[in-house]
C-alpha cells in the first residue's frame, strides 16, 4: 500500500504530503484528504497505467476510491481476474 500511496501523491501532486501521512483507512475525498471529482478521474488513469485495470464506469469511483485500502482491495481483486 506504500507504493500505492507514493503513486497517488505523485499523480495528484499532493504537495507536502508523505506516504506515511495517509492512513490506510483515511477517507480520500472531501473531509479526509480533500480530493474531488477531477482527482477521481486522475486515479482512474493511475489504475489503468500501473495496474492495467480499467474502471469503465466513473460512477464506481466513490466506492473504489474511498480509501487507500479500498483501492488496494480493488486492485487485488481485479488483477486476479486479469491473470
Amino acid at each position: 500500500m506504500s507504493d500505492l500511496k507514493t503513486q497517488i501523491i505523485a499523480q495528484l501532486n499532493l504537495q507536502d504530503v508523505r506516504p506515511e501521512d495517509i492512513g490506510d483507512d483515511q477517507p480520500l475525498f472531501v473531509d479526509g484528504l480533500g480530493l474531488d471529482s477531477i482527482d477521481a478521474l486522475e486515479l482512474i488513469v493511475l489504475l489503468q497505467q500501473y495496474y492495467k485495470i480499467k474502471l469503465s464506469n466513473a460512477e464506481d469511483g466513490p466506492k473504489v476510491f474511498k480509501s487507500v485500502r479500498t483501492i488496494a482491495e480493488y486492485i487485488t481483486a481485479h488483477q486476479k481476474e486479469v491473470v
Binding site: Q11, L12, N13, L14, Q15, G34, L41, E42, V45, Q49
Partner: protein, 354 residues
C-alpha cells in the same frame, strides 16, 4: 469617463510584488528572456488550491489576491482577465502527452487548466464570487479589451468596481517556437542594455498584473484612468500620429500637457523605428520613459506599463530607470502610455493624478 485605480498587484521580472519600494533597484536578466521574480505562493493562495495550479495560474491568482487585499475588497463586482497565450504550460503538457501516448492514458487536470478562463475562474472560486467573470484572448489587445470591458461595466453601473488583469507566461517550448519566428535576439543580452541595441529581436517577457478599478474616488487611489484607445494595423506613421492627436483631443489635452510619455520600445530595430519617428515628431518635446527593458516583450505588456504609470503618480516621482532621458523635474499630472505589439496592435492609455 472617470475611473480610479484603487489597488494593484503585480508579479513581474522586477521586484514589484508586495510591500517593496517602487523599482528602487532594477533586476538584471541576461539572455533572451526575463522571467518573473516570484513570491512564496503559500502566503497568498490556499494550499489546497495550489497543488494543481501551473506557474501562470499561481502568478495570476496571487497578483489578483494581493490587489484585492490592498483594495480591502472581498469580492469585486467583476473579474476580467486578458491573456494572449493562455495557460501555455498546461496546454503543452496535455498536447505533448496526447502526441507521445497516441491519445491513450491521458488525465484531465492539464486539459481543464488549459482553458483560457482558468485564472479568472480560479479567482472567482477562491473568493466564492458569483459576479461577472470574463476572459479576453486577443493577442496584443487582450489586456486592452479586458480594460475596456471593465470601463464599460463601471459606466453602466452607478456604483461598482472591477478587478482587471493581464497574464502571460514564457514556457520552454513557447520561447523556442517564438525564437524560430525571429522574435528574440540572436545573442544573449542584458535587459539593462536592451534598448541600446541596434539589431533585430527583443527579449521575451511575462507577467501577471491586476488592477482594482472603481468609479468612485477613495482616499487611497493610485491614479485616475482617464482614457483608453486601441487601433489595429495603421497604414503608417501619419495614421499613428493622427490617432494619438485624436485621443488627446478627445480628452481635451495637448501633447504639451502630457508630463510623461511611456512607450513600448523593445530593442528591436524594426519595432522601435515607430518610436524613433514619433520621438522626432509628436513626442519631440516630451519626457519619455520605457518599460520593456524591465518586463520584456509580451502581448499583454501594457499592463506592466499601466502599473508603472500608476505607481509614478502614487509615489509622486520617477525612479532612476535605465535609459531615462530626463530626470523628473516637475510634478507629473498626466501620463500617456503608447504601446504597440508587432506593429499591429496599438494602444493608448491616459493616466492622471487624482
Amino acid at each position: 469617463m472617470k475611473m480610479y485605480i484603487r489597488a494593484t498587484g503585480n508579479i513581474s521580472p522586477q521586484q514589484t510584488f508586495g510591500d517593496v519600494p517602487f523599482l528602487e533597484s532594477i533586476v538584471e536578466h541576461t539572455g533572451t528572456m526575463l522571467h518573473c521574480t516570484e513570491p512564496d505562493y503559500k502566503n497568498h493562495i490556499d494550499p489546497k488550491m495550489i497543488r494543481r495550479m501551473s506557474r501562470i495560474i499561481r502568478m495570476g491568482v496571487a497578483a489578483a489576491s494581493a490587489c484585492l487585499k490592498e483594495a480591502g475588497i472581498q469580492a469585486p463586482d467583476a473579474i476580467i482577465t486578458g491573456t494572449a497565450y493562455g495557460c501555455l504550460q498546461d496546454t503543452d503538457i496535455f498536447l505533448s502527452k496526447m502526441v507521445e501516448q497516441n491519445e491513450e492514458l491521458l488525465t484531465p487536470t492539464a486539459f481543464i487548466q488549459s482553458t483560457h478562463n482558468t485564472i479568472g475562474a480560479q479567482i472567482g472560486l477562491m473568493i466564492k464570487s458569483n459576479n461577472y467573470n470574463n476572459a479576453f484572448v486577443h493577442r496584443g489587445f487582450s489586456f486592452e479589451s479586458a480594460l475596456l470591458d471593465g470601463i464599460m461595466l463601471l459606466m453602466e453601473n452607478p456604483a461598482s468596481n472591477a478587478l482587471v488583469g493581464a497574464v502571460d507566461e514564457i514556457t520552454v517550448n513557447s520561447h523556442e517556437i517564438l525564437r524560430r519566428f525571429g522574435l528574440y535576439k540572436q545573442e544573449p543580452v542584458s535587459n539593462l542594455e536592451l534598448l541600446k541595441a541596434s539589431s533585430k529581436g527583443t527579449m521575451a517577457g511575462e507577467g501577471a498584473a491586476f488592477f482594482l478599478l472603481a468609479n468612485a474616488a477613495s482616499d487611497n487611489d493610485y491614479a485616475q484612468l482617464n482614457g483608453l484607445h486601441t487601433f489595429y494595423k495603421p497604414s503608417g506613421i501619419e495614421e499613428i500620429e493622427n490617432e494619438i492627436n485624436g485621443f488627446l483631443t478627445a480628452h481635451k489635452l495637448s501633447i504639451n500637457e502630457i508630463d510623461l510619455v511611456v512607450t513600448g520600445r523593445n530593442g528591436d530595430i524594426n519595432n522601435d523605428s515607430i518610436y524613433d519617428k514619433l520621438e522626432h515628431g509628436i513626442f519631440n518635446n516630451s519626457m519619455l520613459a520605457n518599460f520593456k527593458n524591465l518586463c520584456g516583450e509580451y502581448p499583454t505588456a501594457t499592463a506592466f506599463a499601466l502599473w508603472m504609470a500608476a505607481k509614478v503618480l502614487q509615489t509622486g516621482g520617477l525612479p532612476a530607470l535605465p535609459g531615462l532621458k530626463q530626470p523628473a523635474a516637475k510634478k507629473i499630472n498626466h501620463i500617456l502610455i503608447y504601446n504597440q505589439y508587432q506593429q499591429k496592435h496599438h494602444s493608448l492609455l491616459l493616466v492622471s493624478a487624482c
